[in-house]
């Protein structure tokens, strides 16, 4: 019900923007034109050129990834989109409005690099406070905050102060506060940083969930796996320069290689297949029994141990190994 209400508000807002600005395209959520940022010191001397002439367009409903090593300007880009920084030159438009407008924040959720929250508040108080900042009435605040606490899995610790929270829990409450207003655009700065693999997976699932709800997500990360798993399109930044921009599928496809996976194949059959490949003029690169990734292995172990808690899980496995 809330969704339809915001959709209506969204449509009205779009209509207004189309009327005032004929160039406005409602399907373009974020647009940057020649966006640059130079950090200066107190005296106006140039310290760092953090971002150089970035041109981007993020469309409605996509998950856009900013990828790059530490210090490549990812956070700077996100802060420029939020109006926390003012561009040195160029423009950043969000929902067709300048990034310095406060009204655009009604439809935005932001998870900072580290969750910069008030440590003396409990999870409930935190969400209630941020709800008030959206001018939400008490009943709606309660509804949303209960739902989000449940969703990020903090129900049991919702009455504890944030200073007692672990890094992973802080991240979760950070995400919950970013979603309190049911935003259309969510900006996530290193959403998986500091999370264990379980947490990382849950975070990724939640991001994919947002996509299912037709939200637009911009996230940045230096972890390739994260970006690969969830993003539709990515931009690769390095030292403030845009190096690559495109759909993940296109970028990762190695078009001149083919891989075949099979199960229950005898050794002889493998040799036969190799011969067939050679006959067709191909080259066999590797033949091996595939390994699972470490991430998957770890996740399997944790899942198993959750079903059968305690040390028993290990000793049983040991016993099995001994029998074999």
């Amino acid at each position: 019900m809330a969704d339809t209400a915001t959709d209506k508000a969204e449509q009205a807002e779009d209509k207004r923007l189309v009327q005032t600005n004929p160039d406005y395209d409602p399907s373009v959520i974020v647009e940057t034109q020649n966006l640059s940022k130079v950090y200066r010191d107190f005296w106006g001397r140039q310290k760092v050129r953090a971002l150089k002439a970035l041109d981007l367009e993020v469309r409605k409903g996509e998950i856009f990834g900013l990828l790059g090593p530490n210090g490549s300007g990812k956070s700077t880009t996100i802060k420029l989109l939020l109006g926390l920084l003012f561009p040195t030159s160029g423009r950043a438009l969000v929902f067709g409005q300048d990034a310095s407008e406060t009204t655009k924040n009604e439809r935005i959720g932001y998870l900072p690099e580290e969750s910069y929250l008030y440590k003396f508040l409990t999870a409930e108080e935190t969400l209630d406070f941020y709800g008030r900042l959206f001018d939400m009435p008490a009943k709606l605040r309660k509804e949303r905050s209960d739902m989000l606490i449940e969703q990020v899995g903090l129900t049991r610790s919702k009455r504890r102060q944030l200073k007692e929270y672990s890094k992973g829990m802080t991240r979760r409450i950070g995400l919950a506060q970013a979603l309190i207003n049911d935003p259309d655009l969510i900006l996530l700065d290193e959403p998986t940083s500091g999370l264990d693999p379980m947490g990382t997976r849950e975070m990724k699932d939640m991001i994919l969930d947002l996509k299912a709800q037709k939200k637009t997500v911009i996230m940045c990360s230096h972890l390739l796996a994260d970006v690969q798993d969830v993003c539709d399109r990515i931009a690769i930044l390095h030292q403030g320069d845009l190096k690559e921009l495109g759909a993940v599928n296109d970028l990762l496809q190695v078009s001149d290689e083919t891989s075949i996976r099979a199960k229950g194949l005898p050794q002889s059959a493998q040799q036969e297949i190799e011969e067939v490949i050679r006959k067709h003029g191909g080259e066999v690169l590797t033949v091996e029994n595939p390994r699972t990734t470490l991430e998957e292995l770890f996740l399997n172990i944790v899942r198993e141990s959750e079903q059968r808690p305690g040390r028993r899980a290990i000793s049983e496995q040991d016993a099995e190994n001994g029998e074999n």
């Binding site: 950090y39 200066r40 106006g44 802060k79 939020l82 109006g83 926390l84 920084l85 003012f86 040195t88 310095s100 406060t102 009204t103 924040n105 009604e106 935005i108 932001y110 900072p112 580290e114 910069y116 929250l117 008030y118 003396f120 508040l121 406070f129 941020y130 008030r132 900042l133 959206f134 001018d135 506060q177 207003n181």
Partner: protein, 669 residues
């Protein structure tokens, strides 16, 4: 207490001949600040974005200000206020401040001693303490809040919500002001209890070695004390709270149908004697501003001798009265001095002290006198309608050595003032009332309502000799002239405008106490706004420094304004410094020449700068009513209103300053 010249609220707001209108100054300052802000903002923007782009940047900031204030959301603002208060409480500043206050009260009480007006010391102590602690507290919590939020980057999660800069600034101010108000109320109530407990005491009638009450003949030759004229016996109370009171037995003779004495419980015997009634009654002499109520019970078993009778009497002396006063002085509108030749002067005769607050008149058969012109003298102001209390504090300067215990005689004369429309009215002149001055203490003279005098027509011809009414005849139009003369040859009497006034009916003490704390509250509001406004662009230590400087400037702003208008003897800072080194007298002009010219011109630049600063720094002395409470004077409404307006103007200006600074600040840089 020195009462400074004080204009009426309407005069202050809308201006008069010698005072420019405060509203005018306010708008002038706003205009200047706006122009300066625009210019400065443009410069910064031009530096960042180039001269043409800068124009748009400035225009955008200015045009954004409208919606930011008009669409301010109460829910958001209060959420921020609540959080700011919560955060401040967590910092424990309040706890520490309160602990200091409690300790000060616990141990401060030990050091307050002395019989002479202890209530002044008590009230001054608690008010000064409260003021300092409250101002320090709001300064600390407001100086740390925003800079900490920016440093911890918690501000990121605030400004990325639809929160306006106006809401952040106003929310913070409200949060801190709320906390400060709560603490101030608490401290005010505790202070009042502390003062009341500290002053509360009772006495007994003292007894002699044989454990008997002993009333003795009044010794009129004893120095340092003057017994009442109709006192016949006297004794003392026990020593409590560091003082004793004299208790006198008065022989009060009244007409049979005249009103009875007010306190009939203190009457020992009521003896009818023809068409008179003699009341033998007790009276406690007041000490250091307070007195007690006494009541007596006697067994009339036929004992004739009064002293014997009193030996067996039962006395009851009530708790202290008169500490908690809110006197309402009716000051003169104008004071004119006349020298020996009868020439009008705005200041009195100089007795050598340049800085004297009082002007002097000379005694003997000269024309030297001082005239006080009162206005608005009405019967409704006084509850004791047959007597008008006139309070005088007179200074004495003796040019002739002699008996220094002998007091100087003073003459008072009342006269009607007929000017303008009333010029054709009859004129009344009273006979001179004479009394001895008590040096440097407040003397209360009960002026009888009907005074003997003469009635003249407008043309100056004597119409009638007789008794005339102070309200209905002398001050028919509300105006009254009081002429004061010194009657002893070669002696001088000193006085200032605030030294002589009619004391109207007292106002309730709690109301005055409340007003005094409103003064502290207003100062607190300004300091909160200063702290929040400065913290939008400065780091916490710098904010504290800036706020402290402003407060110091604010408390001395009257002195600085004087400096700026060049009325201080000895010139500006450089000239004074030279005088200090050369040990030159401050009133003698320095030798002419280029050095002096350079010196005075540097000084005048400096002084003009100081003058400009004093205009934009709040005058804290105008918001400080602790002297009124200390000395037991009522804070008049005009004064309070002016203080409210001053504070409002500053808070408004500072809030807007804070808003623009926060709005244009790049928070993540």
């Amino acid at each position: 207490m020195v009462v400074n010249e004080f204009p009426q609220i309407t005069e202050w707001l809308f201006g008069s001949a010698n005072n420019p209108s405060a509203i005018y100054i306010f708008f002038l300052l706003i205009l200047a600040a706006t122009l300066f802000g625009l210019f400065f903002g443009y410069l910064v923007a031009a530096f960042r974005h180039g001269p043409t782009e800068a124009f748009y940047v400035v225009a955008k900031v200015v045009s954004g200000a409208g919606p930011d204030w008009l669409k301010l959301s109460p829910r958001r603002t209060f959420a921020i206020a609540k959080l700011a208060a919560k955060e401040a409480i967590r910092r424990r500043v309040i706890l520490i401040v309160f602990a200091i206050f409690a300790l000060a009260l616990l141990f401060g009480g030990w050091f307050i001693t002395g019989a002479e007006n202890p209530e002044r010391v008590y009230i001054n102590f608690v008010m000064f303490g409260t003021q300092m602690l409250i101002l320090m507290m709001v300064m600390l919590i407001s100086a740390f809040s925003l800079p900490e939020d920016i440093k911890n980057r918690t501000i990121y999660t605030i400004t990325t919500k639809p929160v306006r800069a106006s809401e952040i600034v106003v929310g913070r101010i409200l949060g801190f002001a709320g906390l400060g108000t709560g603490l101030l109320i608490l401290m005010g109530i505790i202070s009042l209890l502390f003062v009341w407990r500290g002053l509360e005491h009772r006495h007994q009638i003292a007894t002699n070695e044989n454990n008997e009450y002993e009333f003795v003949e009044v010794d009129r030759n004893e120095t340092g004390r003057r017994a009442s004229d109709d006192a016949i016996l006297e004794t003392r109370t026990t020593q409590d709270s560091g003082h004793t009171h004299f208790v006198e037995v008065l022989r009060d003779v009244r007409d049979k149908d005249a009103p009875k004495p007010v306190n009939m419980d203190a009457v020992i015997r009521e003896i009818p004697a023809g068409d008179k009634t003699i009341y033998e009654r007790l009276e406690i002499e007041s000490v250091g501003g307070h007195t007690h109520k006494i009541s007596v019970e006697v067994d009339s078993d036929g004992t004739e001798d009064l002293a014997e009778l009193l030996k067996k009497a039962k006395f009851d002396i009530s708790s202290a009265r008169g500490f908690f006063r809110a006197r309402v002085p009716q000051y003169a509108e104008k004071l004119v001095f006349y020298d020996r030749e009868g020439n009008a002067k705005s200041r009195g005769i100089s007795t050598g002290d340049q800085w004297a607050y009082r002007g002097y008149i000379s005694g003997g058969i000269t024309l030297s006198r001082a005239e006080y012109y009162f206005d608005g003298i009405e019967e409704g102001l006084f509850d004791t309608s047959d007597k008008l209390p006139l309070e005088l504090t007179l200074g004495v300067y003796r040019s002739k050595t002699g008996d220094i215990y002998k007091q100087i005689r003073v003459g008072l004369q009342f006269e009607s003032v007929n000017e303008g429309e009333d010029a054709t009215g009859d004129r009344y002149v009273s006979e001179q009332l004479e009394f001895e001055s008590e040096e440097f203490s407040v003397q209360v003279k009960a002026i009888p309502r009907t005074l003997p005098g003469q009635k003249f027509s407008a043309s100056g011809e004597l119409l009638e000799n007789g008794n005339f009414d102070l309200f209905e005849d002398f001050a028919k139009n509300g105006r009254l002239k009081l002429t004061i003369r010194c009657l002893d040859q070669d002696q001088y009497l000193g006085m200032a405008k605030a030294d002589i006034y009619f004391r109207a009916t007292d106002k309730p003490y709690w109301w005055n106490f409340f007003k005094g704390y409103v003064g502290i509250w207003l100062q607190m509001m300004i300091v909160t706004c200063l702290g929040v406004a400065f913290s939008t662009f400065l780091s916490s230590p710098v904010v504290m420094l800036a706020v402290i400087c402003t407060i110091i400037f604010g408390f001395f702003s009257e002195w600085l304004q004087k400096l700026a208008s060049f009325t201080i003897e000895g010139g500006g800072p450089i000239e004074s410094f030279v005088r200090l080194i050369t040990q030159e007298n401050t009133s003698r002009p320095l030798p002419e020449g280029i050095v002096r010219n350079i010196m005075t011109s540097i000084d005048s630049v400096f002084i003009n700068m100081v003058g400009a600063v004093t205009q934009v720094v709040p005058d804290f002395s105008r918001l400080d009513f602790s002297d009124f409470l200390t000395y037991g004077y009522f804070v008049d409404n005009d004064r309070l209103l002016v203080a409210v307006f001053i504070s409002l103007a500053f808070c408004l200006g500072l809030t807007i300053l804070g808003y623009f600074c926060l709005k244009t600040r790049e928070l993540a840089a």
